[in-house]
Structures are given as C-alpha cells and as structure tokens.
Symmetry: C2
Subunit: 309 residues, 2 copies
C-alpha cells in the first residue's frame, strides 16, 4: 500500500505516474483542503478536483486544472451582475461543486462526497481529504498586514503580493478524515508529492495527529522536492518560501521535511546540492523530476518507491 500526501497540479501529475506502476486500489492520496473556498454558496475543493480530473484524463492540459473542453456560460452570465468572477468556474466543473455542496447539505462528509465523485469518474485509487472539518489557509500580506483567504491571494492577486505569514484557521480543532492516520500507519511507502511545502503540504501537517503519524513512518517516507534550481515549476512555492524566511532551494525543502521524511528526491539540476541536503539529515536521491509526459511521471514514481527500499 502506498500513501501519498498531495496538493494540486504537481501531486496530480505524480499520481498519474504512480497509477501506471502500482494497482490504483493500493494507493491512498491524502489531499490538502486548506485552499477550499465557498463561492456563490458552492463548496469548491480545488486540490481534490485537480487530482480527480487529472487521474480521470479529463483535466485541461493547458492549465493543469479544470476540465478539458470546458464552457463558460455561467461565468460569462455572472458578468451581467458584476458578480464574483475572479475565480473562474467552468460549466461542467460547476456540476462537481453543486454535487459536493448538495451532499454536504444532506449530511454527507467531505470524504463521502469525494468518494462518490471519484467513483463517478471511474477512479480506483482512494482520495481522502485531509479532514472532513474545515481548515482554511489564510495569507497575511506584508504590505498591509491584512489577512485574506488563500484563493483571494493565489487567484485573485495572482500570488504576486509579498506574504508575511500563513495560518490555518480551524486546524487545531480539525480531525484527520477517517482512514488518513491508518493509511499513513500501514503504508509500505509514504510519498510527499512535489507540492508546495507551505500551502499544500503545510495544511496537512497542521491537522492534529498527522505530523506525528508521519514522523513515526519517517524511514518509509520519501519526499519529492517541488523546487528545482531555486524555482517552483509552477506556482509560488519559491517566493512563498523566501517570504517566510526559508531558503528557496532543495536545502530549504529538506529543512522543512527532514523531521518526517528520510529521503528527498531532487532534480538532476540540483545534484550539486546533494551533500547540503544530506547535511540536513535526509538521504538525497537525484533524478529527473520534471514530469513532461506520462512515462516521465511513471519513472519518477518508480524512483520514489525505490528510494525507500
């Protein structure tokens, strides 16, 4: 059994590689829900949906999120009302949020709704939200010291504004979703996907019990650096690390992950930092980590599973 800690696009690509080499029934992905948001009354879970759509082969290949062949009639019509359109929800994607919202209103948990959604897309792996309870990632802006939701910063401000703090509202009272701790406890390998350490993996670590469970499996836990040559392939992992005083490098990632992961996979481009990573207490594996196509993603998954052997 393989358990993966997952954010959005990077994790989705890694998982699409993993399912090529491991029967999906043997995979559990524990997914960040800190950047979930309620828009127009609809509960949007971006990371859960990105993983689902990617594994279903339905994701928009140009963006890495949302659905391929999407239409935008609802958003275009919202413009008439000068409604909230900064977070674009396609017509087909809306159905996912409508279904999730309806099920939550009926008393289903987020994990139950997620299981129904993934089943509807024909996925055999298990996708678990990190928690059924709301945890909201909030961003404090350096310039104004004001705090906004993750999506307001990430999408609304295109993550272009400097950040002084990241906090996780509700985390202290959140419980791991059923199965999360067991999936970590019993996994043959735990993989920390190449996701943003601060705002994708960070929220998971704030759910009580999760970080202890991980630490207990440190020798079976391998992480993949989302930072390559000091830059994030996609998204703000590098600038966010810098803003919060972390070195935006594989060494900075190692410092964040060393207490619960024993191996860090870094890209070929960072082979020169191998010794520095190991100085942080993680074994360093150098491999191609840019998942340009399906074989590359499968190969990275193979390297990750081999790394703890």
């Amino acid at each position: 059994m393989i358990t993966c800690l997952a954010g959005g696009v990077g994790a989705a690509k890694f998982l699409s590689g993993l399912v090529q080499i491991v029967p999906p029934e043997e995979i559990t992905a524990v997914v960040n829900t800190g950047d979930d948001i309620v828009l127009h009354g609809l509960r949007v879970s971006p990371d859960l949906d990105t993983v689902t759509y990617t594994l279903a082969g339905a994701v928009n290949p140009d963006t890495g999120w949302g659905l391929a062949g999407e239409s935008w009639a609802a958003m275009e019509s919202l413009d008439r009302y000068s409604g909230q359109t900064w977070f674009r929800l396609g017509d087909r994607d809306l159905a996912t949020h409508m279904y999730r919202t309806q099920r939550l209103a009926e008393g289903a948990t987020l994990a139950e709704a997620t299981a129904e959604i993934t089943r509807a897309w024909g996925l055999a792996l298990r996708l678990l939200p990190m928690s059924n309870d709301r945890v909201e990632t909030n961003i404090t802006l350096r310039a104004t010291d004001s705090t906004i939701s993750f999506q307001e910063w990430f999408v609304g401000q295109r993550h272009a504004t400097a950040v002084s703090a990241v906090s996780f509202e509700g985390a202290a009272a959140a419980r791991p979703a059923p199965g999360v701790l067991e999936a970590i406890d019993t996994a043959d390998v735990v993989v920390v996907c190449p996701s943003n350490p601060i705002v994708s993996i960070g929220p998971l670590l704030e759910v009580p019990g999760l970080s202890d469970a991980l630490a207990a499996r440190r020798d079976r836990c391998v992480a993949i650096s989302p930072i390559i040559a000091g830059k994030a392939l996609k998204g703000p992992a590098d600038t966010l690390m810098t803003d919060l005083g972390h070195e935006p490098s594989v060494v900075g990632v190692a410092r964040l992950y060393a207490k619960f992961a024993s191996v860090l996979i870094v890209d070929d481009a960072d082979s020169g930092l191998s010794a520095a990573v190991e100085a942080e207490g993680m074994r360093c594996v150098v491999a191609p980590t840019v998942m340009t196509d399906a074989p590359a993603a499968a190969e990275l998954a193979r390297r990750a599973l081999a790394a703890t052997a």
Copy 2:
C-alpha cells in the same frame, strides 16, 4: 402608480403587456417567493426570475420560463454524479442563482439582490419579493398524507398527484418586504395577475399584513382569472382548486378573491358565468384574457386599468 400581485408565467405575460401602456417606473410587482428552493446550495427564485427574464425579453419562448438560447453543460455533467437534476438549471440561469446566493451570504436582503438583478437586466419597473423572509409552500399529498416542497410536487411529480392540503411554512413569522405594504396602500390600481390563486397568489395573502392592506384597497383592486372555461391555461390551478374543494371556475376564483378585489376579469369563454361571479360580490368584466402576443397582453392590461375606473 400600479401595483401588481404576481406569480410566474401568467403574471410575467401580463406585466409585459402593462409596461407597454404604463411607464415601468410607475409599476411595482410584488412577487411570490413561496416556491423558492435551495438546490445544490443555490437559492432559486423561480417566479422572480420568470418575471425578470420575460420583461428583459430574454425568456425561453417555448417554456415561458428560463432563458432563451440556454445551454445545459452543468446539468449534463451532474448526471455523471447521479446528482439532483429533476429541477433543470441552465448554465446562464445558474449565474442568476449564484449571484443571488452570494449576495444573500454577504448579508443583502432578497429584495436588494432582486433590485440588483433586475437593474442588471435593464428593467425599470420595481420587482419586490413578497418578503425577505423565507416562506415555503408545502404540498401535502392525498395518497400518502406526506408533505413535500412545492417544487418537488410541481416539477418533480409534474403536479400529477392529488393534493389534500397546501401550507406556507414560515408565513406567520414573515414580514412583507420593505415597500410592499406602501405599494399597495398608495397604488392607483392594484392588479391581481392571472396567476394560480392557491400557490402563486395564496402565499402573498399569508404574509401578515398583506391581505389586510389589500382588503383596504378593495375598490381599486382588479383581479384577472387564470381559469378559463374551467381550465388553467398552464399549470395546475384547476386541479389544485378541485383538490382543495374550490370550484375550478371563474366563480370559484371570485369566491377566493371577493374579499380584497372588487372586479374580476374573466375570459370571453366565461361570459355566461358573469352573473354568477357578480353574485359572489365582484363586478365581472368580460374580455379576451389569453395573451397570445404582445398586443393582446397590452390590451388586457388596458382593460384591467380601465376596470376600476
């Protein structure tokens, strides 16, 4: 100033006639919200939207509700999840519900959200929900004695099942929306549109204060029968009246309206029942009431305004 009590399709057609002969700024429509429903977390107000879309010239001419040229990507995608699709919401129509839901969540009243929506569609008449408070029309089924929401019966069961009672949850505690009572008090003419007496006009009468305000203006109040030759042109007004022990005829309508309206306009087809209507205490005006086109709707509006002169 003209104040109209309005349900959905019939009222929308009448109002589209009225705006041809009266400056829309001088018209207030007080609209039924008893058949509002929350679906997928979205607040749907069918009668408000039917009136809005009709007056904006954007209504689907084939159905009399919804938007012309609508697309259905969200509903089709909901099928994947076996989601709730018995109440069809078009992609463009969804934007209206999303905007309304968002504004209510932000603390706006339904009246405020409605004013914003009608302004966005360029309407100059004033559309008021009967109340900013939730009033829910419920239908008790004769066969099972179970109670379901209006829309579950009207749309879900295609109003084909016999009804033993209609009730209005929340009505006793509801307050008329700001401006509703004043609009009735100060109108030169109050028009009860050709809407379902039980489930379109009925909910308005249950809002405390509304029926007294109407009764005080009885001499200026003219109603248009939605029943023609014993049948509703559209919808279940006739069967519902029968189910609840009312005669499904203009005479039955007169009995329901006589205490607050002094004139009943009946269709040419019912000219033979004129004396029977007058025996119920309403002056009877015979006129063509089938609004087959815009001129016919304008002519009916003209007759209604003339009837109280």
